[in-house]
Amino acid sequence: MLAHLASPRTGGLLALAAVIALLPLVLRNSYFYDVAVLVGLNAIVCIGLNLLIGYAGQISLGHAGFFGLGAYGSAILASRYGWPPLAALLATTFAVALLAFIVGRPILRLRGHYLAMATLGLGVIIFMVISTEDKFTGGPDGISVVPFRIGGFVLQGERIWYWVVGALLLVAVWLALNLIESPTGRALRALHSSEVGAEVVGINAAEHKLMVFVISAVFASVAGSLGAHYSGFVTPAKVAFLHSIELVTMVVFGGLASTFGAVVGAAVLTTLPQLLATFEDYEMMVFGAVMIGTMIFLPRGVVPSLARLFRSHRSADADNKANKA
């Protein structure tokens, strides 16, 4: 039983739940809560993106596009057309999934740099559409969004959102961990390493890449929708190419093929610019420096590197004990 609790899966989930439960002890005012909510939303996007990049080995430089479509879809349906926010969120998510499915099929035939360019192009197209179709989107000025409400219950205020996003983050982590440990998840990791090796044991690689692309788009879209309702306002900045780069940097910094790494990456790189608020103009330089530094010093990312260090310490301890005995 104890061994089960200490497994990376259960233990990690419990640790994350504990952090979410205890964090309010140090969150002194609503600004801190605000940052924590942003961390949670970015973490949900990064968990999805990490399934695509870290596990299946397919790059996307356009995920801010899916995040933005989620945000604007919810904003337009709920605020302009008066849809109930939950219905707007579900419809938007479905539409984004469908778009990812249609666009993913031709794009995911590409590999490496070509895939990077194609997804980048996709993100740019989405950005262009959103910033020019100002009749619907408000153009560069953005659009205000009604608060999220289910029935008579209105979600408003950083503290309530903190618990909602915290719970959803746990669910997102749980789903990702489940997927990775399933036959489908093993197929994704296998085709990352050798596509031909995966195909000859009966895995349809193209189908699996498409599936994980859609899943990652859905994670981004849901986080986008929630973010729009939470902040009450969306602007094209959240859809821009630089936001895609931020998301990829979070995933790489936290650690490719590590779900908890994606959470840590999102936490550190969402909080860092807030701490450096006075250097706002240099934010992208900081991201660039973090990316370069990670690649040079921690190519596996923070969490996998720490995990490795911890394991080697433990096995060294075990060796010492064995030698003494």
Binding site: L179, S182, R186, R189, A190, G202
Partner: protein
């Protein structure tokens, strides 16, 4: 009734015929070896027989299924498994997980049950883990049950590919140079393993340069040269075929040192046979 039937199979790369007008049949339950000098088209043929290459001409039939032009996973689903000369191990996973991936086709796994990890899914996963461990023991990898794939020596990785291929529960298993890079002891153990595969009811296609191994285990042999069939028949016949001996000895004229060992083996086998 043959298990695999190949009719007029050809593959062109630009103007070069890697495989040309090749027809043969593989009877079930046998060890069928494909030999020939380097560049004879052996690996190209294996790639054709697993859908990795699409043929330029001809047909590939597994029992009554026409697989010509289908993608590799379709070949796998009809019961053709393979190993690779250049290892295609999943180095980002554990050894056990590599074999578990081989079970992929036999895991009923909807996306929802995977995401939610329903109890059924968790049970199926445990069963899959146990079966994979069993297969690792079967190929002699019990020492690596908790190893990461990237921490295993070369010889063990070759066995790992065999275990992964076995996990697909194949009718036909194609082994691409399983003895290459193995030391003599490991190569000897391979004879035994191939023998046990046929006992399991798996038909084996063996592409191999190690003539001792080929002559030891084969029922039928197909000899390729420049992508064409040079000779085919029961192992006994083929090794006495003057054309075959000539093809191998003929390559000595090119004085490529890599052939020397192989030629020496063929000569030794020929001499032994004529004694």
């Amino acid at each position: 009734m043959s298990l695999l039937r190949v009719e007029g199979l050809g593959k062109k790369f630009g103007g070069v015929n890697a495989v040309e007008d090749l027809s043969f049949e593989i009877p079930p339950g046998e060890v069928y070896s494909i030999i020939g000098p380097n560049g004879a088209g052996k690996t190209s043929l294996l790639n054709l027989l697993t859908g990795v290459y699409k043929p330029s001409s001809g047909r590939i039939m597994l029992q009554e299924h026409d697989l010509t032009g289908h993608p590799p996973y379709a070949y796998a689903r009809q019961g053709i498994a393979r190993t690779f000369q250049n290892l295609q191990v999943f180095f980002n996973m554990s050894a056990l997980e590599n074999v578990m991936v081989g079970r992929y086709m036999h895991e009923r796994c909807g996306l929802m049950s995977a995401l939610l990890r329903l109890p059924r899914q968790a049970r199926a996963d445990r069963a899959c883990r146990e079966e994979a461990a069993e297969l690792m023991r079967y190929v002699g990898l019990q020492a690596y049950l908790s190893s990461a794939a990237d921490a295993m020596p070369y010889g063990a990785l070759k066995r790992l590919e065999i275990a992964r291929a076995l996990a697909t529960r194949p009718k036909l298993m194609l082994l691409d140079e399983p003895a290459a890079g193995l030391n003599p002891t490991e190569a000897l153990e391979l004879d035994d393993l191939i023998g046990r595969l046929t006992e399991r009811g798996v038909t084996v296609v063996l592409v191999e340069h190690n003539m001792r191994l080929v002559m030891g285990v084969s029922d039928h042999i197909l000899v390729l040269d420049y992508g064409r069939k040079l000779a085919e028949g029961p192992a006994q016949e083929v090794r006495n075929n003057p054309k075959v001996i000539e093809a191998y000895l003929g390559s000595a004229v090119s004085s490529e040192t890599s052939y020397r060992e192989e030629i020496a083996q063929v000569v030794a086998v020929a001499v032994e046979m004529h004694r």
